[in-house]
Structure formats: structure tokens, C-alpha cells
Symmetry: C2
Subunit: 415 residues, 2 copies
């Protein structure tokens, strides 16, 4: 098991090196930029050193194949994304590309070939920071791109279509990146930092993801009546902010009661003066669960409570839904195999759902997907303080290695 | 009693005419502007028509004296301010200058002289909109101007000192406006729109002000821990906005319990993203009462509750006081006389405190003060929708007339 101490250090060094490839003083690497080119070239070099043959597809995703001896074997995909948010961290996405390279490098250096191809992929866009649309890399594999995306423009007015041309690609040819024979796919495993505090709270290095939660988002508008803070008695007020405060607490307690997560993250208040009773307040709601029906029942309960608060306080209440996505389940067989791999590695298996979206959501359209989370410091992500321990990376490499051995065993038995 | 029907219409016409003297499309008339000059000239003209001799003092306050036959009689001041907030109304301030002119005009047209001088004053600045410091007009009478105010600048960088020079005045000579013989003052009565909904709620045209409430203002800073809205379980959150929501409700309920008014009118939230748990939230608190000790006890109770919420939720809590002013009581004798005047006029006397600040606060330093509130539509002020009924203006004129008769009677008896 100690074979992965050096490999884990190597992954951390790669993360640092890759984190320096940025279009700003902070970590910032967006789709189809010069830094995207540099990152692909750098990672391709590490893939090649690990014994992979590399290529880029028509969406600028980087691929590295560690070939099976059997040319006609199925492919198992390991990967995540290589882009970052502005002022982000060095591990969100990158770890899921670099950890597999380190394990493949181990296999290569020990002259171990697997009965299936390992395809490591570094998606060019997951965050959607440049063009506003997320998962562009993985959705190119599943044929989900829309024609009108050609005109999506970045902050400088460069369209996705132009940016692809500048990168040596063609928007018109994006269909060629679609995986047209999903039967050739054995599955997909994504390693990712947790972006939450659960593994830290449980004191565990890794966790098995059960599902990627479905999310719904809303804006609520509360209409009260603005007034002078000194002259309107408490009993005659229609205070939109006080009504919102009561609603925010209701969201919190109903979410806990139903076992979902619900967040009021944004609030806008008018006129927002220290001596004026609030006339209008709007706030967001983000509600998620691995169980779509539970989430919807919790939302219905929240809405009923908010309506009753509005009625009681004589304020207006309107809302609009701005986003809705269903949960994506991880394949039970792959979850079971990850559990076995964690047991084999003498860690404690722990299952949790993913509250954040990942490339695996898109890939689930074409094959079975699994995800392994790695503990991260205080659950912080999308921030320079994003941090992981070398020891936890080592754990993830050991588990991934065990997982590949179990998968090889099963593949050899059943195919 | 019907003599004031026409007078009330006249006051409404004057309010409309004066409301048109503005530096913008909406009502906006600030201290020492060209529009201040125009307003003073217009109101001086109406004062003169009502039999007053007029002058301006060194702070650009407009005065109109309806002289007693006894040159050495005391002065009773009736007045309010002629400036407005930007996008304000036509009655806040102005009514307290124009209503006395209408009553004096009545006395003049009936050849009635009183045993004391009536001094009607239109203060040049109460709102403080131009230079940030409020009550400049009335504080000139009480000698409260500070030397450093010379450098207070408006939004265009013009200092108070420069603006006075431009208006033909001298900041250095402001001391000359101070009333140096307060024994010559019989008292001060200010008529003002209520700026609150209480008289409307009680279905009364006018009310007697007991005191101008003392106010304290604070900012509270809540420090939580930002996190991903999807990945942090409800039980592991330190949500600054949810904590603030609980605190805002506590402010509301403790204020009602103590019988004070307390308002959280402004809130700022960070990072304020729909998918991010709030890390930092700050909110204002404005707390007022006619009883300073009650207000302070209520604040102590609020603070204790907020600290307990912060401890329970594991968030930081700090606060700063940005303003503190004690309550100013209206003179009991003048309140009693107003009550009598309202009874004589066949209205129902109703006493209430003023939640907003007024010129009377400053004048209380040099003589007894009283205030009469006039019902306004929905309590709206500082807004174009500010509105009063002609019928209520008529009531205020009748009461003011009765008040002056009672005061004359008392003056003749006791002096």
C-alpha cells in the first residue's frame, strides 16, 4: 500500500504546477483560452510519461488512453475537468484528472496492463465561467450541444463559435465528438474534492457518492409597505424584510425537517435605508436532494409556509422558478465496487450524495457513472483557500488502484 | 368655524405653488440654492400680504412678524422648514410655515392684534440633504453650529462656507443669528404632517405631540462561514443570513414587547450568491421611544438576545453605535393648551409621540416647544405620494386659531 506515497506527492506537485497556468494573478483558467492550450499540453505530457497515447477531441477535451492488450476491449473512463472558476482553487476538477494519471503511471511502471482500455479525460469546460453554459466538455461527448450556443459570448464579446475557430476547432463539427457507440463504454469514474464538510466531520479521507442531487432554484418577491422607521408603530407595519426574515427561518427549519438542503443565499432589499421600513425584499431559494420527490415535497411545504407568513403579515408574495434539474444516481454496481475497494484498502466506506453538479451528470446519459469524493479543508472550494491533504490523495490513489483491480477481475470473468 | 374653509384651500394652493419651486423634475429644494432664494421670496410675499414684516437671518431662515401693539411684548414662534428631501413631498415642513400664515392672514383681515408678537419662521435647512448635517436652520437660532461645519461639502464639492457666501451670507457671522434673549420667547409651536399612520388609523385630523422620540442607531456584523449551497448539510452550517433572519425577528418581537419602535431597515449580505451559504451579513438597527430609559432597556434586551442567537449558531457578532439622541419632551402647559384648543374646536384630542426628528428638537434648547400633527395619507412622507386632505388642513387652522386665542387670554392675564 505504500507504493502511492510518492505518487500522491507527485499529484500535489502537478496540482501546483497546473495551478500556475492562469490568465490572472489568481487561479483562473477558462475554456478555449491560451491557458487552456497550455494546460492541455502540460497534462498531455504527464499522460504520455505515464504510458498513455493522447489526443484532443473536437471540444478541446484532452484524452489519454492507457491501452489494453486487447484492441477491441471496452473503455473505462476516468476523468474530470481542467477549467477553473475565477479566483478558484487548484484541486476542483484537476484532482480527478491527475490522480488517474498517477495510478496509470504506477501500472505502467510495473508493466501492468488491464483487460480494458483506461481513457483518462480532462474536460475543457465544466464551470461554464467563460460562456455561461456549464458542462460544455462532457456534453460534447453526449451530443447535447445546441446550435444556438454558437453565439454565446464571453465578457469580451467573443462567441463560442469564434473561440473554437481561434483554438483550431469548428463549432460545426462538434457532432464528431459525440460518443456514438456507448456499448463500448464500461463506465465512468470521477474523483473530486467533496466541496463540503461531511468527510472532514466524519474524519474520513474518501467517500462514495450515491447520487448527484437534483436542484431547483427560485426567486421570491415580498411586497410590503415602506414607511418611516420612527413613525409607524410595530403593529401597523408591513415590513417586507421582517417578513422575509421569518420566511428564511422557515426555509431552514423545513429543510432540516425533510432532510434536504435549502439555502437562501441572496437577498435584495428596498429602499434599504437605516431609517426606512422595508417596502420590497427579494430572496433566492436553492433546494437540493438526492431524492427528487422528497425535494419537491419539501418545496411544497416551504411554499405553503411562506404563503401563510405572507398572509399573516399582509405582504405580497410572488415567486419564479429559475432552474430545475433532477437528481442523477450513481450506478449501484460501481458504488458496490468502490465500497469493496475502500474495504480492501482498510478504510471505512462512507456514502454521501453530491450537492454540487459534476461532469458525471452529463456522462450518465451514455454510461454507468460513479464518483469518489476526497476530503477537503473545511469544505472550501472555488476559493484560493481550497486545500487537500497529501495523505488523503494517497488514500484516493490506493482506492482507485483497488477499484481497477476489482473491475479487471470482474471484466475478465464476465466478458 | 367656517371661516377657515377658504384659508385651507389657500394653504393647499400655496403648497402646490411652493412645491413647483424645485431644482429637479421632482420636488427637491435644498439649503442655500437658487430655489431656496425663490422659495424665501415667494413665502415672504405671502407673509407680507398677511400683514407681516419680513426678514432673513444670517442662516437664510425666513421670518415674518405679525406685530403686537405692544412693541416690548414677548414673541411666540410658529414655524417649520422650507427645504425638502430629493423626490420629496409638498407638505413635510411647508405646512408648518404656510398654515400659520393663513391664520395670521385671518387675524389681519379681521383687524385682530394679539398681545404678543407672532414670529413665523421658515427654516432653510432641516433635512440636511445638501450638507449632511440636519437642522442647520433651527440650530443657528440656538448657537449650536460648529466651526468645522464650514468645510462640509455638497455632492459638487461646494462647502457650506462657500454656499453661504454665494447666498450673500457669511459663515463667520452665523453667531449673530443666535437668539440671545430667550426670556423674550413665549414658546414655539410646529405644525407638521404626522409621517405615520396613527391619526389615519384613529380617524382623527390632528394630534398633540407629547415628545420627539430619542433614537439610537447601530450596525450589527454577523460573521458566519460561506459554503456551497449544495454540499454543506443543514446541521453543519454557519449561515450568516439565517442568523441575521433570526435576529431581525427578535428585534421585532422585543420592540413590540417593550412598546418601542425598532427597525432593521438595511441589510448587506456576502457573497450574496444564489448557490452560496452567506458568510457575512450586516444589518442596521434604529430604535426609538419617547422614554429614553425604556428605549435603552429594550436595546439591552435585544442585544442579549442577539448575542444568545450568535452563540447558539456559532457565528460572530459585533456592533457599533452610529447615532444617539435623547427624547425631547413637549412642554406640558402647551400640550394642555393644544388639548383645550382641540376640544374648543369640537375635535377629539389625541396624544402621540413623534418618531421622526423635527426643528422643535433644536428649539427646545431655548424655549418651551409644542407640536401639532396633521393626518397624512397612509403615513407616507419623503415621497411624491405624500398627501393631506384640505379638510384636515382646515381643522389644523381652526385649532391653531383657538390655540392663539387661549394663549392671548393667558398672556393678558399673567403678564
Amino acid at each position: 500500500m505504500t507504493d502511492f506515497v510518492q505518487a500522491a506527492s507527485q499529484v500535489m506537485t502537478w496540482c501546483n504546477e497546473l495551478g500556475a497556468v492562469s490568465q490572472a494573478d489568481y487561479v483562473d483558467r477558462r475554456y478555449l483560452t491560451e491557458q487552456h492550450r497550455q494546460a492541455n499540453d502540460l497534462v498531455a505530457h504527464w499522460m504520455q510519461q505515464a504510458g498513455c497515447k493522447t489526443w484532443e477531441d473536437g471540444a478541446a477535451n484532452l484524452w489519454g488512453r492507457y491501452e489494453s492488450d486487447n484492441e477491441n476491449a471496452q473503455r473505462f473512463i476516468l476523468g474530470s475537468h481542467l477549467d477553473t472558476v475565477p479566483n478558484g482553487g487548484k484541486y476542483d476538477g484537476m484532482l480527478g484528472v491527475l490522480a488517474p494519471i498517477a495510478v496509470v503511471n504506477y501500472l505502467h511502471s510495473h508493466n501492468i496492463r488491464l483487460p480494458f482500455h483506461i481513457d483518462i479525460v480532462g474536460f475543457g469546460d465544466e464551470e461554464g465561467t467563460r460562456f455561461g453554459s456549464t458542462l460544455l466538455g462532457s456534453r460534447a461527448l453526449t451530443g447535447q450541444w445546441q446550435k444556438e450556443w454558437a453565439d454565446l459570448a464571453d465578457s469580451e464579446g467573443i462567441t463560442l463559435s469564434q473561440a473554437m475557430s481561434n483554438f483550431g476547432l469548428s463549432f460545426a463539427n462538434i457532432g464528431n465528438s459525440k460518443i456514438t457507440n456507448p456499448s463500448g463504454l464500461l463506465g465512468y469514474l470521477e474523483i473530486h474534492i467533496e466541496q463540503g464538510p461531511v468527510l472532514e466531520d466524519k474524519n474520513l479521507p474518501v467517500g462514495i457518492v450515491t447520487a448527484i442531487n437534483g436542484a431547483r432554484r427560485f426567486w421570491f418577491d415580498i411586497e410590503g409597505f415602506a414607511g418611516h422607521a420612527g413613525t409607524v408603530p410595530m403593529g401597523l407595519r408591513q415590513d417586507a424584510l421582517a417578513a422575509s426574515a421569518e420566511m428564511i427561518l422557515a426555509v431552514e427549519s423545513i429543510a432540516a425537517e425533510f432532510g434536504v438542503v435549502a439555502t437562501v443565499g441572496a437577498i435584495e432589499n428596498r429602499p434599504n435605508g437605516v431609517n426606512v421600513i422595508s417596502g420590497k425584499t427579494r430572496f433566492s431559494l436553492d433546494i437540493r436532494s438526492e431524492d427528487d420527490r422528497l425535494r419537491d415535497r419539501a418545496f411544497d411545504a416551504i411554499l405553503a409556509k411562506l404563503e401563510s407568513i405572507a398572509e399573516h403579515r399582509n405582504t405580497g408574495l410572488t415567486y419564479t422558478q429559475t432552474h430545475s434539474a433532477n437528481a442523477v444516481s450513481c450506478a449501484p454496481e460501481l458504488q458496490a465496487m468502490l465500497t469493496q475497494a475502500i474495504n480492501n484498502a482498510d478504510f471505512t466506506p462512507y456514502s454521501l450524495s453530491s450537492g454540487a453538479g459534476h461532469d458525471a451528470m452529463a456522462i450518465a446519459d451514455i454510461c454507468d457513472v460513479a464518483m469518489m469524493f476526497v476530503r477537503c479543508y473545511k469544505g472550501i472550494s472555488h476559493h484560493p483557500a481550497e486545500s487537500i491533504k497529501t495523505h488523503d490523495v494517497e488514500a484516493s490513489l490506493i482506492v482507485l488502484h483497488q477499484f481497477l483491480l476489482l473491475l479487471s477481475e470482474q471484466y475478465s470473468t464476465t466478458k
